[in-house]
Symmetry: C2
Subunit: 185 residues, 2 copies
DNA sequence: CCAACCATGTAAGCTGTTACATGATTGA
DNA sequence: TCAATCATGTAACAGCTTACATGGTTGG
């Protein structure tokens, strides 16, 4: 993590709050009702995480017009989110692709769509790296010594990395197309 | 987990020890040099995990012929491993497929290959369930409201689940073929 | 009025991470 | 002899999970 004090759950919260200010409960519901639920979560993790973000000065509770207080990003919080979003895709993220995908989803908040495109390029490169690494592991000495089922298990990783690679290429096309349409309009 | 006291790392260790007795250091090296490294690890997690398994009576240190002591499975340990391996693939494992794959790799230890085949059938069904869930999420109200990038992020999950499904079908064929060959021989 | 949902928390326990510590053995 | 690798740990810290606790509001 860029900011050592912020976990993946913390960044997910920052990203959601960045989309629109919400209460703790609303944030919890997002995790409960969307595929974002992978970053899990129960009151026992979300509320303390929000408190940490608050203590770190990344979010602020603000009650607008007599309603319940909602969480808003502070300047520092927006900057922390931004720098997390712009981090290059590393090898770790090529293996555990969910975190990278989370970043991709939140990258949409930015006007500058080229950020998303370069993210996809980096993601594709990382996926390709994983494909190559697994393929050469299978072709190498250790790989050839594997039993059928261990080999199949590794091949699953390979198939999964290939799927990610294919997805990234297609996503680049679709995003470019959308950018073109926006230019024309 | 079946046994509440055993984590994924614990089962990975049980599986490896079940393949062949090893020292703590050898076990660590496996994690450092193979794709199993996803279940991570540093001395600070492996040694305490081994100690827990020992305390729980699932493994035993045994020094054969004056060498360094190696970890062996106890009867209880072998039973715990077995029941973990035979657990049906649930929805959670369909999302986070790595744990399921770990079980698949270790299932090879069993003579009875039909266990592996039924595992693959269950895995395929779970993957299909994920595919359907994500597809209907995208087709539903919430899905249609998604921005392009959020939609693409979910589609990545879909592509990944489809890859798993395809892999499982192919794996079933290859495993069946191998079983046929064994019968003939 | 009562159930369901809104809304926010705390506490115990456990596991994993990082970093540090220690000593034996082996090869150049 | 000195560095690398073998080999096994401990300690501090932090985060997540589960379970429990509390009270307001709304609809049938």
């Amino acid at each position: 993590m860029n900011d050592p004090a912020v976990t993946t759950l913390g960044y997910a919260l920052l990203g959601l709050i960045g989309q629109s200010p919400r209460s703790g409960y609303r944030l919890r519901l997002v995790f409960e009702t969307t595929p974002l639920g992978t970053y899990s979560s129960s009151p026992g993790s979300i509320y303390p995480a929000l408190k940490r973000l608050e203590r770190a000065g990344l979010v602020r509770r603000e009650a607008a017009g007599g309603g319940k207080p909602l969480f808003h990003l502070t300047g520092t919080g927006a900057a922390a989110l931004q720098s997390w979003l712009e981090r290059p895709v590393d090898a770790e993220e090529a293996i555990d692709r969910e975190i990278a995908l989370l970043r991709f989803a939140f990258l949409e908040g930015h006007r500058d769509r080229t950020l998303s495109l370069s993210f996809l390029a980096g993601f594709a490169a990382a996926a390709k790296g994983q494909v190559d690494a697994l393929a050469s592991f299978l072709a190498g000495e250790e790989g050839r010594a594997l039993s059928l089922q261990s080999r199949l298990a590794v091949e699953h990783g390979l198939a999964s990395a290939r799927a990610s690679l294919g997805w990234a290429e297609q996503a680049q096309d679709r995003l470019s197309a959308e950018i073109q349409k926006e230019k024309v309009r």
